[in-house]
């Protein structure tokens, strides 16, 4: 019988098919674990108990009849609270949506549920996905299950913590500037960001529309591949959803790494990188070479401008996307004498400091007189950053970097200085801006036992290659290097 942290998709499949456990019992088991640990971790904001058990019972009925089971039958999954779930509160970690109950499911959620997944509930996150530590949630911070005085990373901190603590087999997160990969690294689990447009954004409550992506946080690489194969693919409800065929990720997963050219950009190994992180990631790269990969040095000259570019583009888009929270149609409304007062009072009360800061920054860089100097210029630098990647991918098949400059920091350590917090994203925002897919895989721990993450990036729509490298690395013991 699997122990607390080791239920995987295949373990669930085997246990259900052999009737070792029923889907209902497994679901009950997970809710008991959540009950046990959520007060400490604060990973979950809401539990969809009835929906979960209804699905579990449906799966158990199929098992009783001897029906063929769908690929995620009975698998307990958690969903980040910026992703719409029908009839289950979806707060985005904000007071302004405290009572919002979506009347529909996000496409990604619907696909998982139709594949048999049991949706356990909604996970805590930085407010409107803005943050790198899950300390910006209006519902309290999330603690890192590996070290509870430390952050789980953000903004998908709740999802990462839930998976790392065995409170869900897998979880959906979202990544705009690193918000799946960085929490994956902080909590010691794989976290995958698909190519922009690979997974539908329909039902994802928007932060930055040209950057947002939904992706999985999982116990292992195989599970990431399974979830990706179910969620990926064109959706007519998302106009930015790519009409590019989805390859069979699972089929490519176990292919050997012989001959794959891996690029190592010097720009990601400079000042500011923690020495223990450097040591482990370089060891990880050496392991990939031992597995047959060819290491090629790279220079990606615009890396240093990525944070500045990101915090102009993303905040500009956020200022536009968050204009809708005005008390008119949904969420919080502060009663007021007139409309303008209602807008201002509602937003003042409903938004937290980080959200306000980013809305103001975004408004500033878009405002008359500043648009050219900031926003237009940032869009041009974004082209340069994307070109760094397309140039690199002429020479290499994948790019390997650390995921974060340091392991998980302490709660409260960076909250006084927003810019310091932004700089935690330094290795992830580049891939975000370029639209490329990537994964963070565990790559050893520091002497103090804190997880370290190694990032693998690939060209657009090469998720299969990302997963193949990650799987080879995992099989060879890279996670515990």
């Amino acid at each position: 019988m699997s122990t607390a942290a080791s239920w995987t998709i295949s373990a669930v499949r085997d246990a259900l098919r052999s009737k070792e456990i029923s889907a209902r019992e497994l679901t009950k088991d997970f809710f008991a674990r959540i009950d046990n640990r959520n007060r400490q971790l604060n990973a979950f904001l809401a539990l969809s108990v009835d929906r979960a058990f209804a699905q579990a019972d449906r799966i158990d009925a199929m098992i009783a009849k001897g029906d063929a089971l769908p690929p995620l039958a009975g698998v307990p999954i958690a969903v980040k609270d910026v992703i719409s779930t029908r009839d289950v509160t979806t707060t985005c970690g904000s007071k302004i949506l405290e009572t919002y109950v979506p009347p529909y499911d996000a496409t990604a959620v619907g696909r998982l549920e139709r594949a048999g997944a049991v949706i356990l509930g909604k996970t805590n996150c930085d407010e409107f996905a803005m943050g790198s530590s899950n300390e910006n949630s209006a519902y309290g911070p999330v603690r890192n299950p590996i070290a509870i005085d430390r952050v789980p990373g953000g903004s998908s901190g709740g999802s990462a913590a839930a998976v790392a603590a065995g409170l869900a087999v897998a979880a959906l997160g979202t990544d705009t500037g690193g918000s799946i990969r960085q929490p994956g690294a902080c909590c010691g689990i794989p976290g995958m960001m698909p190519t922009y447009g690979r997974v539908s954004r329909y039902g994802l409550i928007a932060f930055a529309s040209s950057l947002d992506r939904i992706g999985p946080l999982t116990q292992n690489v195989t599970d990431a591949s399974v979830l990706m194969s179910i969620m990926a693919g064109h959706d007519p409800n998302d106009s930015t959803s790519a009409a590019v065929p989805v390859p069979n990720y699972n089929a490519q997963l176990e292919s050997p790494l012989q001959g794959i050219r891996i690029g190592v950009p010097e720009d990601y190994f400079g000042e500011g990188l923690d020495p223990e992180v450097r040591e482990k990631v370089l060891a990880g790269i050496a392991l990939l070479e031992k597995l047959g990969a060819e290491r090629i040095p790279l220079h990606m000259p615009h890396t240093d401008y990525a944070i500045a570019t990101y915090y102009i583009v993303a905040t500009a888009e956020a200022s536009s996307n968050l204009a809708r929270y005005d008390g008119v149609r949904y969420g919080l409304r502060v009663p007021s004498a007139n409309l303008r007062e209602m807008y201002k009072k509602t937003r003042e009360r409903g938004f937290g400091p980080e959200v306000k800061r980013r809305i103001m920054l975004g408004t500033y860089v878009l405002s008359a007189g500043y648009y050219d100097a900031y926003y237009l210029r940032a869009q041009k630098v974004r082209s340069l950053i994307a070109r760094d990647f397309s140039d690199a991918f002429q020479k290499v098949d994948a790019i390997i970097t650390p995921t974060t400059p340091t392991p998980a920091f302490r709660l409260g350590e960076k909250t006084a200085d927003p810019l310091q917090m932004y700089l935690a994203d330094i290795y992830t925002v580049t891939g975000s801006l370029a639209g490329v897919p990537g994964i963070s895989v565990p790559c050893g721990k520091t002497k103090a036992g804190l997880p370290i993450g190694m990032q693998i990036l690939a060209p657009h729509f090469e998720e299969g290659r990302v997963l193949q490298l990650a799987r080879g690395f995992e099989k060879a013991g890279g996670f515990t290097i």
Binding site: K345, R347, Q379, V381
Partner: protein
Amino acid sequence: MKSGGYILKISREDVLRVAELAHLELTPEEIELYRGQLDEILSYIGKLEKLDVSNVEPMAQVLFPAPDDRQPELRDDTLVPCDIADAVLAQAPDAAKPFFRVPRVIER
């Protein structure tokens, strides 16, 4: 926060103007706090000025132009039923079907 004779790039008026555009009502403490933080952030993002972008196109779309000449997918311009009014109004703070009722808009 800055000290010792440093002049902030962003003025109090800038913060108020931006807050007005963004429909945010800030307290006096918030105005000062955000002014300092925004100033620090704007100074940092000013590093983009160092780059020569004279011959660079702005990146309006992430996936286009695509290397394989793939075009964005457009759907047919056909009407489909969209019977969502009740579900949407159910979320409203003050609904009076088919309207969202709000406080007085026009003052005079």
